[in-house]
Symmetry: C2
Subunit: 336 residues, 2 copies
């Protein structure tokens, strides 16, 4: 099975030692990835974008990989500022305040008029807005509740490309077709698990993430649009490394680490559901190229149906399915 | 605040070193408790009941405390057998197979005719049947789905006292009033937390239990019947100790350890909701005396409104609210 120019449209690479340890897990098999800006402090200036990009490029060494950089959204961004940084970024990421890891400086309340100057500037400059769409409501309802905010933003800024990040619910899936300017990324773990896998048997901290995995009917809705490669959905792993001790603790951090096995799992998933390789190609790259208008580095990944034993950890980060066998392996990666 | 003869109508004391370490946490403040039989192997014979009871009595030392013993339900129990063990037990506990800790030998399928001989025998002998009511469905639906099984059993065996153990949903609460022979226990943690507390912020393994904490409207339904001391509901802590390493691990065991702080938390809860001390007395003892027809040891517990710092662990078992302050302390325990 051959995939061309795989793109991960939602990736956390962190910084410092963690960045150095895990960057190649993505850079080896993906042509590029949208890099999330929720560092401490968050990435909010051109200088920070360029410096972070350089640290990423240093961390990936010889791998051929494009980090598509993002800014952490702030409603005070001016059009002049955004125009000055436009060439260095691919998107801006909006976090509701306090909703996930390192999101304390995010948006509180979603008053359209308060957001208008910054969002109209993004719209005019054709910079997509990536959104972590959760309210601070009950954990199983947060994303569905946020759909009304998506609708408000999509209506108020009809030319702004709004990416509903890591969607997990049927409500978000149906919103896709109601608004021309709404798009979505979907993770591999939300295509595979439900809350049952996290908390139905033993509690599994390594499957705990935000948004939390939802109900079977939600997963079915996600599978439906991913497997047919709905043109408005893209793969975004939301691969989010935390050290083992931060996951297996009294208060476990949110995030699933899938970067090194994402393509293998997608190959198995699409095969199990009898979805075509063309659909997988669209889901993993072509849709994103169209939506974002990016031309990725040419990289070809050959997968083979040969069991791969997922390592127990990658530099102290426990991946999804650690110690288990998955059906596909990476056979060869080439680039031109 | 004074409570008389507190009863814990659902308690796990385990066995061996764990039993020796944690039995006094219940025996000090409670007059008695229904002791769950899900040991390995489960308690299924008169000899095992008596031997387990003796180990419990040895573990509690000088404390005055009645362990109300139970048998692990088996559909093959005959009336003769049940009659022979009747004087040694207070109830029989039914587990669906594989639904919680050490329940592998439980009931699969709930065919009324298959269960009829054993359940009619219990009914005739006036032995209550305690039930862990969960299907093997989606984790948030398991208890609500089981209500149809409660209804089937309540209808088929109208004289059998059926205790819906550790109820967590509004569906179970409404079933209480539809069938004369359905009763319920409610834990302190399900009166305090929802799934938000388990998985809404960081993941909290020490609040992970089965049934899992549900939605805010479910907790409200439980609070409604507990605070007014609905005559068919009783306190049952489901306090379930696991060693710290089994809770803070890749696959965390289910159970919340509340035995040493249950009365203090109930005092605070009832006060916060302006419920009367009479209602608390009924919830914590009198309702259970009526439903089970037991006369507990006379024990008086005086609570005072003085902050209590919950220990980080009790012999390696992490309690609910470990390291946090709660509003009430035990001032004095006396027995006559």
């Amino acid at each position: 099975m051959q995939l061309n120019a795989p793109l991960d449209m939602h990736l956390h690479l962190r910084d410092g030692e963690m960045l150095e340890n895990i960057a190649t897990a993505s850079a080896h098999t993906f042509s590029g990835a949208i890099i999330m800006p929720n560092l401490v402090p968050p990435v909010t200036t051109k200088e920070e974008v360029l410096a972070y990009k350089n640290r990423i490029l240093a961390a990936i060494g010889d791998e051929k990989f494009t980090p598509y950089m993002t800014l952490f959204f702030n409603p005070n961004y001016t059009k002049e500022f955004l125009a000055s940084v436009k060439n260095e970024i691919t998107a801006v990421k909006l976090y509701p305040a306090g909703i996930t890891t390192n999101s304390e400086g995010g948006v509180s309340g979603f008053d359209v008029e308060e957001l208008r100057p910054a969002l109209e500037a993004l719209s005019d400059l054709n910079i997509p807005l990536c959104v972590h769409g959760e309210t601070n409501g009950f954990v199983m309802d947060r994303e569905a509740e946020f759909v009304t905010i998506y609708e408000k933003l999509a209506t108020a800024f009809p030319k702004l490309k709004i990416i509903m990040e890591h969607i997990t619910t049927k409500e978000s899936v149906t919103a896709l077709d109601r608004f021309e300017n709404l798009y979505a990324t979907i993770t591999i773990h939300h295509l595979l698990i439900t809350l049952d896998d996290v908390a139905g048997g033993m509690l599994k901290p390594h499957l705990f993430c935000k948004p939390i995995a939802k109900r079977p009917e939600d997963r079915d809705a996600l599978l439906n649009v991913a497997l047919k490669a709905h043109p408005k959905v893209m793969f975004g792993s939301d691969s989010a490394p935390h050290p083992k001790h931060a996951k297996e603790a009294c208060g476990c951090a949110a995030g699933v680490f899938t970067a090194p096995i994402a393509l293998q799992l997608l190959a198995e998933l699409f095969e199990n559901h009898h979805a075509s390789i063309d659909n997988l190609q669209n889901f993993i790259s072509n849709n994103a190229q169209t939506i974002y208008g990016v031309t990725p580095l040419q990289k070809t990944v050959i997968l083979e149906k040969k069991p791969f034993m997922v390592p127990l950890d990658y530099h102290g980060v426990v991946p999804m399915y650690a110690g288990e066998k998955i059906a596909y392996s990476i056979k060869e990666v080439t680039h031109t």
